[in-house]
């Protein structure tokens, strides 16, 4: 199937009413949770996992993806209007978006965010289509050793890049891998760490783990939130229209942000938060008058928003073509597919074209919907910002319980959510990342299987990881990343010591 045939086929598939409705549901729900501070895309996708049992895998993936990129739009709205980043990806947008609001350019700021988000997603879709075709051909050359090495690189990258402390991030990944061992060992049939509980034979329930770590822990952390009383002016459609000068200023930052986001989104372990920060830094560097940044520069909104939306889409490249999730949200998506018995990989493009092309087309349709829907609906989102959290969270908890119960009909899982929630809350208190734990949990069984297979094929010779060229590249990159982060830690400590000496 050529690209154009695929795209047409995908559009036809995604426009079927039974699929389109889930796309709409996903993006609307995503915008909603993106606007609400305190609940992120992670929690929303965890809450929706049980729903995916009842619909087709294609519709499920399209809906969950819609939540993901919809949350980026919603996050931008909250960032700009209230300087409350609804999602970490949009934290940068507040830096220049909120000053624009203070200047009375609210409408233009929102327009810039929406338009550049849309442009970024179009760039992301183009890159996704190009890369996916090429990668899924290349991926047929991948052996077990290459897969294992690549996944380990992804885990190391995720725990080194963008986290303050490497040891903490890597500890969470390791804990996740260890939790992934619970249940029946595939190779030998031995029950590991089940302690006689039949409920644990299939391993720890992904839905319970995700809900406990994200849903429950986030609720606990936000219960004491005071009610928000922001007064936001009504924005007429006319006031959203930007001046010609604004449009000209937005053009290049949007393109640069989209390119940057597409690149970093496709790399495992980096993701959209990093790319929006990088785009902001880049725009400030290339700007002719960098002192305008932080005081309402439209480039500071357009670049990062374009970058994080592009990254949100190209993040699907490793997930769909190699079956390896690059970040925790993709790990949840992969989990949703595995629930349906689908293991994404290089063959998926051929074997399930409706899944791949349908998803690609739904990205376009969903983003277009967001653009059309959100401009007139901004008033509603703003009103929602004022719903006190205390009215929402008891309902969220009940939905968490019923959602996890509906998966297997076991009250054991509900109590497990409470236990996991307690652990997740304590981890979050000590600033350990639960998202990395989840990434490790999903990748754990894949890594173990491929590691064992690789060593079985090589008759126990660990040199296989350096002899195969693909895996050798990944191993070298992993070691380089480790050394780099060790060097950074050493430099930080030296600087801190120098500061203390100066202070003394």
């Amino acid at each position: 199937m050529t690209t154009w045939e695929g795209l047409l086929y995908g559009i036809g598939f995604a426009l079927q009413p039974g699929v389109l409705v889930y796309c709409v549901l996903g993006v609307v729900l995503g915008t909603f949770v993106g606007v609400l501070p305190g609940i992120g895309a992670m929690a929303a996708i965890s809450l929706l996992l049980p729903v995916t049992y009842y619909i087709t895998p294609e519709a499920a993936l399209i809906m969950l993806a819609g939540v993901y990129y919809g949350a980026q739009y919603g996050g931008a709205v909250a960032s700009i209007l209230m300087r409350l980043p609804g999602t970490p990806q949009s934290a940068v947008t507040a830096l220049d978006g909120y000053p624009m609001v203070r200047e009375g350019r609210t409408g233009v700021a929102l327009f810039a965010a929406m338009a550049s988000s849309f442009a970024g997603s179009v760039i992301g879709i183009a890159v996704l289509v190009m890369l996916a075709g090429w990668l899924s051909t290349a991926a047929t050359a991948f052996g077990a050793a290459d897969y294992a090495a690549m996944m380990i690189l992804g885990l190391v990258a995720a725990s080194t890049i963008g986290t303050g402390q490497f040891a903490k991030g890597f500890a969470m990944v390791t804990l996740g891998l260890l939790l992934g061992c619970v249940g029946t060992d595939v190779n030998s049939g031995v029950q590991r760490f089940t302690f006689g509980q039949t409920e644990l034979l299939d391993g720890i329930n992904l839905v319970a783990l995700a809900m406990g770590l994200f849903g429950v822990a986030e609720v606990v952390a936000n219960v004491q939130d005071p009610d928000r009383q922001g007064v936001v002016e009504r924005i007429g459609f006319r006031r959203m229209l930007p001046a010609w000068a604004d449009l000209r200023q937005m053009g290049w930052p949007t393109l640069r942000g989209g390119a940057l986001g597409s690149f970093f989104g496709a790399l495992p372990g980096t993701g959209s938060t990093l790319s929006s920060f990088l785009s902001y830094a880049m725009e400030r560097r290339v700007a002719r008058r960098p002192e305008r940044f932080g005081k309402g520069a439209i480039e500071g909104v357009a670049g990062p928003e374009s970058a994080n939306n592009a990254a949100a889409i190209t993040a699907f490249v490793p997930t769909l073509t190699l079956g390896i999730p690059g970040d925790p949200i993709m790990a949840l998506m992969l989990g949703a597919l595995v629930i349906h018995g689908i293991q994404p990989g290089p063959l998926m493009l051929e074997a399930r074209p409706e899944m791949f092309w349908g998803l690609v087309a739904s990205f376009g349709i969903g983003n277009l919907l967001l653009l059309i829907l959100n401009l007139p609906l901004i008033g509603i989102w703003v009103a929602m910002l004022r719903i006190p959290f205390r009215w929402l969270y008891p309902a969220i908890l009940v939905f968490v319980c019923l959602g996890v119960y509906s998966v297997r009909g076991l009250t054991f899982d509900i109590v497990a959510v409470a236990a996991i929630g307690l652990a997740g809350y304590l981890l979050a208190l000590a600033a350990f990342s639960p998202a990395l734990l989840l990434l490790g949990f999903v990748l754990g069984p894949l890594i173990e299987t491929n590691l064992r297979r690789a060593l079985l094929i090589s008759r126990g010779d660990p040199m296989v990881f350096l002899e195969r060229p693909i895996s050798a590249v990944f191993v070298v990159a992993t070691i380089a990343l480790l050394l780099l982060s060790l060097w950074q830690a050493w430099r930080q400590r030296r600087n801190a010591r120098a500061d203390r000496r100066e202070a003394a």
Partner: protein, 148 residues
């Protein structure tokens, strides 16, 4: 002297988990060889790695001041209790009873005094839950408490 307590406690807890997992895997499961790994191999290595990483987190934290963690024990207890109540209550109290009880318990730590809004919230969410899950989605659940 002030220490970075969150990192110390977190690191040591992870070390303990790692050691337990490693010890359990060594004692109970077959390690196998590198060529034919047994079920114990991967968890034993991971446990040892986790124990080491826990120490790497905890030891440097002994000598530095850290940010005190902002604990919200009341919220945590109420939220977790409401989930446990729902879990144990569902078979006995029915959907309506379990929902009402857990909503009420969950709303206790909210920063708004008064009982009226809590009762209203309880009734509203219970109604909504019964309508959506029992009437709408037809989940097979007992709705009302079982009489002894």
């Amino acid at each position: 002297m002030r220490r970075d307590w969150p990192d110390i406690c977190g690191g040591l807890a992870l070390t303990a988990v790692g050691l337990l997992a490693c010890g359990w895997a060594l004692a109970e499961y077959d390690l196998g060889t590198l060529r034919r790994m047994g079920p114990g191999f991967f968890p034993a290595i991971l446990g040892a790695l986790l124990a080491a990483l826990g120490l790497i987190v905890a030891l440097p934290a002994l000598g530095r001041a850290g940010m005190p963690a902002r604990v919200a024990p009341r919220s945590a207890v109420a939220v977790l209790a409401s989930i446990v109540i729902f879990g144990f209550g569902l078979p006995r109290l029915g959907l309506a009873g379990a929902t009402a009880a857990s909503v009420l318990v969950a709303s206790l730590p909210a920063p708004q005094p008064g009982w009226t809004w809590r009762i209203v919230l309880m009734v509203a969410i219970t109604l909504l839950t019964v309508l959506v899950f029992s009437v709408g989605l037809r989940m097979t659940l007992p709705v009302w408490p079982r009489l002894p």
